[in-house]
């Protein structure tokens, strides 16, 4: 009784399976008996499926046979279904040719995109930096031979005053004699000058941006009248509210010619 029940269930489930495949597949019956138990179905994409109801689970037992239309010259099928031979329409070149073409197109697109992206980014970034004519105007040249020893001059550079002092030997010794522990912003004199006799620095108080007065203050250097900051002969802060030494700009000394910027 149990066996009969099982067979019935199996046949029923097979009928359901075949019914669903029939809706979207062409059906070819085989001569194998019983007809209901074994069917060969060719789906649309040319896959042969044998369905045998006697198998325990017909879904998992389905065999797949792939037909390559180029491998057989004669039409496949048993009369009910004929699969035409597509050989005449298949390409004759090798797979490598197609791959080489496809990857070449992808690669070329990549190369062009990469170059364009790099150029775009480069243009945007170079747009932000100053152009060559602006940089050329932003330099100031000073003739050092015109400045006697022990004298200050003030030149304007990019809208700011720049102090240039021709220091005497005594002043250089005085600047070097200062102990770094006495300084609020410790910096040796050698780090602030390229040539000891020429002191070049921005004339802007590091406190609130006033212009200090030269040859004044308690330390023989500069004195800011706004809030009373005293700078020494190396431009270092010694007394008052300013937190940092006077800033040293980029400059180059070539003989008697000083170029700031």
């Amino acid at each position: 009784m149990a066996t009969t029940m099982f067979n019935r269930t199996a046949v029923n489930s097979m009928a359901v399976a075949v019914g669903s495949t029939l809706r979207n597949a062409t059906r070819a019956t085989t001569k194998a008996a019983p007809a209901q138990a074994c069917r060969t179905v060719i789906t649309r994409d040319g896959v042969l499926q044998n369905r045998t109801a006697l198998m325990a689970a017909s879904r998992f037992g389905a065999q797949q046979r792939f037909i390559s239309s180029s491998s057989s010259s004669a039409p496949v099928g048993d009369g009910t279904t004929q699969i035409p031979n597509f050989g005449d329409y298949m390409k004759t070149s090798s797979d490598d040719t197609s791959r080489a073409f496809a990857y070449m197109m992808v690669g070329t697109t990549g190369v062009l995109t990469m170059a364009a992206a790099k150029a775009t980014v480069h243009d945007f970034l170079s747009n932000m930096s100053a152009s060559a004519d602006v940089l050329a105007l932003a330099k100031v040249e000073v003739d050092l031979a015109a400045i006697p020893e022990g004298k200050n001059i003030v030149v304007k550079w990019r809208g700011k005053p720049v102090f240039i002092r021709h220091r005497t030997v005594g002043e250089i010794d005085e600047a070097n004699a200062v102990s770094l522990t006495d300084l609020r912003d410790p910096q040796p004199d050698s780090a602030r000058v390229q040539q000891p006799e020429w002191l070049v620095m921005l004339g802007i108080c590091t406190h609130l941006g006033c212009v200090p007065i030269g040859e004044a203050g308690d330390y023989g250097g500069w004195f800011c009248p706004c809030h009373g900051s005293h700078y020494d002969i190396s431009g270092r802060i010694r007394k008052g509210p300013a937190p940092l030494n006077l800033e040293v700009p980029q400059y180059a000394i070539d003989g008697d010619k000083l170029t700031i910027g």
């Binding site: 090798s94 490598d96 040719t97 080489a100 073409f101 070449m104 690669g107 990469m114 150029a119």
Partner: protein, 63 residues
Amino acid sequence: MSALGKFNHLLVNTLFKRNSVFLTGIFAGAFAFEVGYDGLTDRIWRRLNEGRTWDDIKDRYTS
């Protein structure tokens, strides 16, 4: 196999087989392309502006 077929086979097996090699090739190709393209367009521009650039009149102003 034809010469083109051999070339394609070589290309696929050396340059396109590994993605790392393919991508490195794209970077190198982009660099080479940029150098060549920039050089070419610069040369064309210089030819169109012959006699008018700073390099052409520099001698008159600098010693």
